[in-house]
Symmetry: C2
Subunit: 389 residues, 2 copies
Amino acid sequence: MRDVAIIGVGLTEFGELWDKSFRKLTAEAGSKAIIDSGVDGKDIDAMYVGSMSSGRFVGQEHIGALVADASGFSHLHIPSTRVEGACASGGIAIRQGYLSIASGMNDVVVVGGVEKMNDVGGSSATETLATAADQEWEAFFGATFPGLYAMIARRHMYEYGTTKEQLAQVAVKNHANGAKNPHAQYRSEITVEKALHASPVAEPLGLLDCSPVSDGAAAVVLCAAEKAHEFTDKPLVKIIGSGQASDSLALHARKSITTLDATVHAAHMTYEQSGKHPSDIQFAEVHDCFTIAEICAIEDLGFVEKGKGGYAVENHITTLDGSRPVNTSGGLKSKGHPVGATGVAQIVEVTQQLRGEAGQRQLSDVTVGLTHNVGGSGATCVVHIMEVN
Amino acid sequence: MRDVAIIGVGLTEFGELWDKSFRKLTAEAGSKAIIDSGVDGKDIDAMYVGSMSSGRFVGQEHIGALVADASGFSHLHIPSTRVEGACASGGIAIRQGYLSIASGMNDVVVVGGVEKMNDVGGSSATETLATAADQEWEAFFGATFPGLYAMIARRHMYEYGTTKEQLAQVAVKNHANGAKNPHAQYRSEITVEKALHASPVAEPLGLLDCSPVSDGAAAVVLCAAEKAHEFTDKPLVKIIGSGQASDSLALHARKSITTLDATVHAAHMTYEQSGKHPSDIQFAEVHDCFTIAEICAIEDLGFVEKGKGGYAVENHITTLDGSRPVNTSGGLKSKGHPVGATGVAQIVEVTQQLRGEAGQRQLSDVTVGLTHNVGGSGATCVVHIMEVN
């Protein structure tokens, strides 16, 4: 398999973007990434797009072709493919783009992620998001994601003594990071006090434990590493590991609900391929759709011992100036969570950190970062490790 | 890139399958393919699933994980990815599975395609299918696929003198083939007379010019060719070319509506990779969502000169005993068109023909076949060429 590098990144603002259409969002993120990469339209061999539910959110399927079209590339007739894995759609799109270059089929591939969720209104958005859960065993009976993750949180508290204050501290940290991110949906700091007194959503999760409904798009340009110098002089960020795993859609079918086995398996694949160990990962973007999800993630990725995620957060290990910063972008909680875009936006953040382009939230001396993107309550997980030369 | 072989195939009946759920259909096709291939669950490295609009048809997204789960593989935690490209979703799934093996990442991959369209009722099915067209420029104004293809047909008649009788003969041929296919939705022959007097749908297309709304699933097992002998002694059917191309979503943006440029480009990629020419293709499954689509397809694939598709059909070149049989399975018209399953079902038919397992519709002495799968009115096209050793 050939080495693959990330040579361009682009992001729209995340938020309630009433003045930007689905196709405008994709074109904006894509053109930023393409300009950043130095490639020309004619250099692009293929496109991949991650989107969870464009059919329900904006009444448009067939968005692989749509995005190529909206980007002004319909005359190039390149293959353009949409992939879907609920909130992990973006991470899967990255992985398919990666494979298509690693295989030797393509040299330059644009990967995008997009979701426009606000047009349908709040309850419809929740209903559409619930199509990522098991329709027959969960959604049909009224379960939505706040409820499913609340069960995970309750059980984590019972098994490991995790506290509501620790959950709140995840949100506080991510808002602090998001306040430094010009693309974030919420650019304001919050306090533990404020998080603990937010409106309850599904006990023990309150409003500030939940990521928002968002519009937004992200894009990256991937290139065969051996050809990257033809387009860019920027530091070469390589994808050195790509892992993906699945699990039962419904929570009740798992042997444990506090360990996401899909994360464990995807991480294992990625560590194995890259030759890295959890201790080699200097920083990470993880899937904090709810605060409890970040705590499970840092445990299941092997950053801390199982059950110690809450304590790690409490001890500021994962803050910007901690020993292992997590969600420097603000994470899904504060940056926003346009579901199909999230996995691609995580890659954008890690690339910007590795290139030293992360502005006020720049980490010092980082060379290895990881992304962790989850679908549903953990039925899909995608993990990537990037390294800069 | 490594060689990739098809070592197992499986198909459900296509039709109005009120007693089979979405997940039951996928499990049925998948288990047939796996049994046919000789692989064991633990041999499977990954799954890909093509589905156009499971979110709208059955309220379920995240079906990569769902299909792995429904197939009893959730404990294996393998990557399972859904791809979508409207009615070309199945063909794209094949191509992603192919790339993941060609890259060296995987050895054994199960690829499925599925759609359950009847649950939502006829007008909702049409509305959901229209999400494969351009929502802002076509669907919003009331255009549906029969109307879009009717415009293509009218223009083809105007430019090339194609007749309604020639369109009818496509349907007659495909029904004759479908009558020999135990999995087909319509297993009855029709006459030109009957087709010409069918209820008009969108002039010049009548009811018997249109493929039906269908439920069904198809699956294949792909394997690195060098490892195929570990699992099967059947004739080795290799994928020797894989092409995919895109075009504008809306018809009005194309330089011609009687030539599908996406077909032309995808075919070119596939001929180039395989070293085959149109004249080497002994038989093909092409995307006859409407009778006019088959006529355009055999022209755009280079089987006949542009504009001569109608005459080729009239002269019985494409019948089972013609010089170049097309849609031996009955095609979308007669076999049925569960949209996400179609591209995979085409691969099943070509594999069965190449292995000599096509029963009453078996061709004699065939070694090279082609599949042609289209999304929307031609914004996506996927072409594969298979050869048996």
